[in-house]
Chain length 211, copies 2
DNA sequence: CTAATTCAATCAAACGATTGATTGAATTTC
DNA sequence: GAAATTCAATCAATCGTTTGATTGAATTAG
């Protein structure tokens, strides 16, 4: 089995198939034959490249991590800044998150796979959490603390950061329900902006009260 | 196949097994033999009582609907009331929701099954949504409108209601991640209250800004 | 009342189909 | 031509479902 260096055609195709099918149907409900068919290759290729179905799952998680860091940027320590500027930064991040979750057709498989892994508490979740999520959440806490003037490591702010992100993530997880109730056929550009505006208003209201 | 009248032992045991295993492992990953073993009966009982695995899934959804309406009460039209009282009502509902999602050991299987069905957009979701969720969300919108004085049917308030509920639901879906970051072994009484307090503060801040 | 019959319910066993994995030969790549 | 890769074919195991037999409690018949 190779590691990750060579982006062979078959290898990349299998990962793409995994991201789509694992996210769309779930890990258990996705057969190796369905994966191979979608990748346009033979079932034996899965064992050859990844050692097996589980190996492909982890390779998909690594691919998610790779792409997500490429988009969201490597987690960095945000520089000290005035409250208004930090708030603007948070607003930008929140809107980017909503856009990433609800639109971005090329990111649909990524998001789907990630949410599946989260719902199933799968092995890929641990990797993504430790390598990305953990630091991003800490970064969020620091920005919030710059706005409210609180302690970035306090339980209160850590929960606040989760509740802000959670709103956005829920709108993706609960998409079937939201669309039915809002009488939207699906999430389009206008719908995505309506959600972002709503959550942005929430962000400002919450942080203003927290000051 | 019976309908629902007789709460036969085997029938009830199979539904209990379904609620637990479907929610815990997912529908596809749960075998009929595992279901029968947990229910202490024979695999053939599934086909006999429910017509098959899919039938058991729907019976579980009906059971969820039955229990959830028994707890949350049938969706009713909230009477007109002053803003402060409506806000208090919303606060109580939010705290009850958090408590139901994060604690309530007897409700763990119910919540798990429901969230699974939501994540998989399963056939049980449509039933629960149409029979309960839809009306409950409308009830929520009316209460919010009483606080802010806006139109309960406006897109803005409908999205607001989703963002309030979504916060609570996310804390349950993202439990593995939240617990890791908060360094909590699991959700206990203190943790549940910390989350409820956080979301209650968000509720007040958002509705105050919305007035 | 007793015997014959029907019925819902459960069981062990087996069905064909599908699962993930493996094999060794064929093919491609360099 | 040697290594890397893909292929068809096959493996044992498990999948959801079905079968025919069996049980004990109702129901019916005489």
């Amino acid at each position: 089995m190779l590691d990750d260096s060579s982006p062979s055609g078959t290898r990349a195709d299998l990962i793409a198939a995994g991201l789509h099918l694992f996210g769309h149907d779930g890990f258990a409900a996705t057969s190796t034959r369905a994966l191979a068919a979608r990748a346009g290759t033979n079932v034996a290729s899965i064992a050859y490249h990844f050692g097996g179905k589980d190996g492909l799952r982890m390779a998909c998680a690594e691919e998610v991590l790779r792409r997500i860091t490429a988009v969201a940027g490597a987690p960095a320590e945000p520089p000290q800044m005035p409250p208004d500027e930090a708030l603007g930064w948070l607003d930008t991040m929140l809107r980017a998150l909503v856009g990433f979750l609800t639109q971005a057709p090329q990111a649909a498989d990524i998001v789907g796979f990630m949410l599946r892994e989260m719902a199933e508490d799968g092995p890929g979740l641990a990797l993504i959490y430790e390598s990305f999520f953990r630091h991003k959440h800490r970064e969020l806490c620091r920005l919030i603390a710059m706005v409210t003037g609180g302690d970035p490591d306090s339980q209160s702010i850590r929960l606040l950061a989760f509740s802000l992100m959670g709103q956005a993530i829920y709108f993706r997880i609960g998409q079937p329900i939201v669309c039915r109730r809002m009488e939207w056929p699906q999430y389009g550009e206008a719908e995505s902006r309506a959600i972002a505006d709503r959550l942005s208003a929430n962000l400002h209201a919450i942080l203003r009260a927290e000051k």
